[in-house]
């Protein structure tokens, strides 16, 4: 049904998570909500609640303290969902790449659909990235979406995390 697809693409609610970013991208992200750029005209709301979100906007290079929380948030977002990595850091580590305390980007922990590079990513770029994400969101269904490397970490239909095997998996990589 066309109208259902329209509903999916017209009402993306956002969850913003900072995985150790310098706050540059976060400020640009907040600028997106201000009168100058006003993403609410596309129906976007910054919900701050993973259970009611459709799009995960992630900034920062994913510090090792953050990865478990990032994964937890990702699994709490009900499908269909889309992940947007905002900023150079989240796209591959940026200036923090290969440091002892970071994971070199979001894609190492959860699958990323859209990359928005830039240090910091400009509001126009972020809007562009989210609009691209909407195209992907339109095609996704409500089936449980678990990335291959997380298959044995996620427990059951509810998508809870088996913490022991998660930590083991992260230690191994």
């Amino acid at each position: 049904m066309k109208i259902f697809e329209l509903g999916k693409a017209k009402s993306p609610w956002i969850l913003h998570y900072n995985t150790g970013s310098c706050n540059g991208c976060d400020i640009e992200l907040l600028a997106v909500l201000t009168p100058r750029y006003d993403v609410e005209r596309f129906g976007m709301l910054n919900k701050g609640n993973p259970k009611q979100a459709d799009i995960l906007l992630i900034t920062g290079p994913v510090t090792k303290r953050c990865r478990e929380r990032l994964l937890n948030l990702y699994l709490q977002v009900p499908e269909p969902k889309v992940v947007v990595a905002v900023g150079t850091c989240s796209c591959g580590g940026g200036v923090f790449r290969h440091m002892y305390n970071v994971e070199n980007g979001v894609e190492r922990v959860i699958p990323v659909d859209v990359y928005v590079p830039g240090c910091a990513a400009r509001p126009q770029q972020i809007i562009d990235g989210v609009v691209k994400a909407l195209q992907i969101l339109r095609e996704k269904g409500r089936a449980l979406e678990v990335p291959p490397h997380l298959k044995k970490i996620v427990r059951g239909r509810e998508g809870g995390i088996d913490r022991e095997s998660l930590l083991e998996d992260l230690r191994r990589r």
């Binding site: 329209l6 017209k10 009402s11 006003d38 609410e40 596309f42 129906g43 919900k47 009611q52």
Partner: protein, 275 residues
């Protein structure tokens, strides 16, 4: 037949009111704002999300909240008892709080407690307004109340009391304590997701129609009825954009100190035959 038609279309009207709220709110902040049909897109989206069930009771309470809100609105529009409408409305909010208490989630619990204070703040002024309506019309039955003309002329202070409790009823600043998106991220509704959030989202629309109908009682038979409802809503939005959130106890205190004496004064003046 006419009322039945209104009843069927009231969710549609509620959705449009909700959309208009968001649009006007955005315009007040010099933003463009979402299209006016945005709430319908949101609802369609919510119905398509993967259901994540936390416990059965939690979900049951979401539906109970919706069903009782719909019952309150139906009782109102079909000309039932005004007291019943207010009690159904209060019960519906209580179910929301009960659902939120059924979880082990801190924000949910804080929100549920605040929701109970929200009931405590909003229901007494409504009940007293109902009493005042009874004084002037001799009945709680809305089908008979609908026969009266321009109640606002003999109950101006009661109308002001209703306006004073409007920000609370519509969960807008300074009285948006139970929802408080920046603080407890939706309060009682935080753990609802996807199709289970949809009934709560729909109940919000119905509540807006109920509030609009409540304002409408005061302007029956007047051509200004729509203008009055729209002006009250815009007033609430202006207040929402110009004030910060108060604590839940301040909400109870201010609503009672402002609204209850106003209705009391109106009841007194009606009894003395001044108005």
């Amino acid at each position: 037949m006419k009322t039945l038609l209104i009843l069927v279309f009231s969710p549609v009207i509620g959705g449009l009111i909700e959309g208009a709220f968001r649009k006007v709110n955005a315009r007040m902040q010099t933003r463009v704002g979402p299209p006016i049909v945005q709430p319908f897109y949101d609802l369609l989206k919510l119905l398509q999300k993967r259901p994540i069930l936390i416990n059965n009771y939690h979900v049951l309470m979401a539906y109970a909240h919706f069903v009782l809100m719909a019952t309150a609105l139906a009782t109102f529009l079909l000309g039932g008892d005004l007291l019943l409408v207010i009690f159904f409305h209060g019960m519906s909010l209580a179910f929301l709080a009960m659902g939120a208490y059924s979880l082990r989630s801190a924000y949910s619990h804080v929100g549920a407690t605040r929701e109970l204070f929200h009931i405590l703040a909003v229901e007494p002024p409504l009940l007293l307004i109902a009493v005042n309506i009874y004084m002037n019309t001799g009945t709680f039955l809305l089908s008979d109340v609908f026969e009266t003309q321009r109640l606002v002329k003999i109950m101006p202070f009661s109308f002001l009391a209703l306006i004073a409790s409007l920000p609370g009823m519509l969960r807008r600043s300074p009285f948006d304590v139970s929802e408080a998106h920046q603080e407890i991220i939706g309060g009682p509704e935080i753990e609802y997701s996807g199709p289970f959030y949809a009934p709560i989202y729909l109940a919000k629309w119905l509540e807006k129609v109920l509030v609009a109908a409540f304002i409408g009682i005061f302007f029956l038979g007047s051509p200004l009825i729509v203008v009055a409802i729209a002006t009250s809503f815009i007033l609430v939005l202006a207040l929402d954009n110009s004030t910060a959130r108060l604590s839940y106890w301040d909400m109870v205190k201010i609503t009672w100190v402002v609204a209850l004496p106003l209705v009391g004064a109106n009841i007194f003046l009606n009894a003395q035959g001044v108005l």
